[in-house]
Subunit: 331 residues, 2 copies
């Protein structure tokens, strides 16, 4: 069945019926606005836009994976504040010749991660569109003051969760070889690209312990997001290539590109955070509760020293960093 047969209200009704009534949702899908409990007297909200041909390509992603990832990237933003997610508001522009089954697969991907992370879909909007696009808005809570990008000081250690570059390398493999790309390493890298893990537990644990001074999620590539932290915190940074955490699959598959994807690849959805040097032992103590390994990859320096990457031979490396800019670059 095509979407134009089901109709807008038919689609909304299907979504409503497929959506569990979440805790604290007084009025969810189906009215002019949603009415929600607010556990504490503050809440957090974040919004992300994903557009076909820009943020994703339907040649290389399933609708299910796209739904999953849509929510994951928003949860990652909340994780980077040390917050826990609660509600999702989702707006979709959908080409009229899309199949309803595909749209339902998309929502299934959303629901799987939503249920796993305690998120209730509470509203949104849909419209016909020439290209498929998605706007997701997530509301969350934090028991303490959220961790911003702006709290790092010269002398702080810089840490990152998980491993870097897997997602960008996975995307490259997808483009070159398609989703069926043979070996186990490739499958791992592609799954890191398609099903990123928002580091909610790590983010909330670091915030609760009060030791993360600045935090951001690595979505545009390590160097780009590090630049955001440095700018907001008015510090510089030194990064040691030797210390960058890489998966075994990455080491095997990266080949001549070496650390390119780990430094500038993007879509890692790991957390980059700074820590007082004297809190190293406290980080070790809470380490297991983060549910993901962390690696110390550098240090903050005075702003005038800028950002330096030290290569494996101990030499500062020339940077062609910079990040993906939606208005300047074309993927």
């Amino acid at each position: 069945m095509q979407l134009k047969e089901l109709g807008e209200f038919g689609l909304i009704e299907r979504i409503r019926q497929a959506t569990p009534r979440g805790r604290g949702v007084r009025i969810g899908i189906g009215d002019d606005a949603a009415w929600l409990d607010c556990r504490n007297r503050t809440f957090l909200i974040t919004s992300d836009l994903l557009i076909e041909g820009i943020h994703f390509n339907l040649k290389w992603t399933s609708f299910y994976a796209l739904g999953y990832k849509t929510l994951a990237v928003n949860l990652s933003d909340l994780a980077a504040m040390g917050a826990s997610p609660a509600y999702l508001i989702l707006s979709l522009g959908i080409p009229v010749d899309f199949r309803v089954e595909d749209v339902e697969q998309f929502y299934r991907g959303i629901r799987v991660l939503a249920s796993r992370s305690g998120v209730a879909l509470v509203g949104g909007d849909t419209s016909a569109s020439t290209r498929f696009f998605i706007n997701a808005c997530v509301v969350g809570h934090s028991a303490q003051r959220p961790v911003t990008r702006g709290g790092a000081k010269a002398g702080d250690d810089l840490y990152v969760t998980g491993t870097l570059g897997d997602s960008a390398l996975g995307m490259k493999l997808l483009k070159e070889r398609g989703a069926r790309a043979g070996n186990r390493n490739h499958a791992y890298l592609i799954s890191r690209h398609r099903f990123p893990s928002p580091r909610l537990t790590a983010g909330a644990t670091l915030a609760r312990a009060g030791i993360a001074r600045a935090m951001i999620d690595v979505s545009d590539g390590l160097l780009q997001d590090l630049t955001h932290v440095c700018k907001a915190s008015r510090v510089g940074a030194v990064i040691w290539e030797e210390a960058l955490p890489l998966s075994r699959a990455y080491r095997t598959a990266a080949g001549k590109k070496g650390l390119l994807y780990a430094l500038t690849g993007g879509e890692d959805y790991e957390l980059l955070f700074s820590l007082r040097r004297r809190d190293r032992s406290r980080l070790e103590t809470i380490g297991r509760r983060l549910t993901v390994p962390v690696a110390r990859i550098g240090t903050c320096v005075p702003a005038r020293e800028g950002i330096t990457v030290i290569n494996r031979r101990g030499r500062p490396q020339a940077l062609s960093t910079a990040g993906f800019d939606h208005f300047r670059d074309r993927r």
Copy 2:
């Protein structure tokens, strides 16, 4: 200057600087998420999507008017719940060859209405896109239980604020004659289309008085939105054409189309609500505080009687109602 020259981060920085720091905004634009006070332990959130070529046409609207209207339609959703708005989260997909000045005009339209209605822009997302589109998400508060679409009972009176059909007739004039369309009536109707007035005071006052039993904003046309109320409330309705509130400009300009736009036109952003018959006098008492006239246009009947429109000769009229459906119809 074109947007691709300014760049994404440049644009965000400009918006941030142009945005007043709203009350209760602990962290606004510029971090991974915004951190907000929640005055009561509940809040409301609504989201609306506007797409070039579907919801608006840049031939017939200025960027300023488009910004204004983007916020107005979201505020209207909150008004229909009896809520007051507080925060706006805005996502934009923008063609790279748009002029920065135009985008700034858009935000100026947003800010004018935001400042007038006590709304703080607190975040969002931007991306390149082939077509211009907008997703706006508004969070609001309500001192009492919000008024839904589902509370009308057979025997209730049906009321509407303001006048109906102006906006749709204004759009027709815009299409036929362009924005400079001559006389005062035309100018009035076009301005009703371009600068709708969200009925925030009326909605909140009706909710606070506890007399509106069901409420919706008329965005898809009276009969379509009435259908939503009837479905959610499990009632039918009788509407008297004679009682429909029309502006003098509408009466003059509608010509042979008569009540067509008032019944099915859409984009009125007036409130349709139901009331116990015995609360008529209470409505009169609070009437002035609504800041907009209200008209009794019909009554709720048992669901099995469906929806009937009684024409001026007292005859039930055949309905070719129905609503605009984004996936079925093309404007």
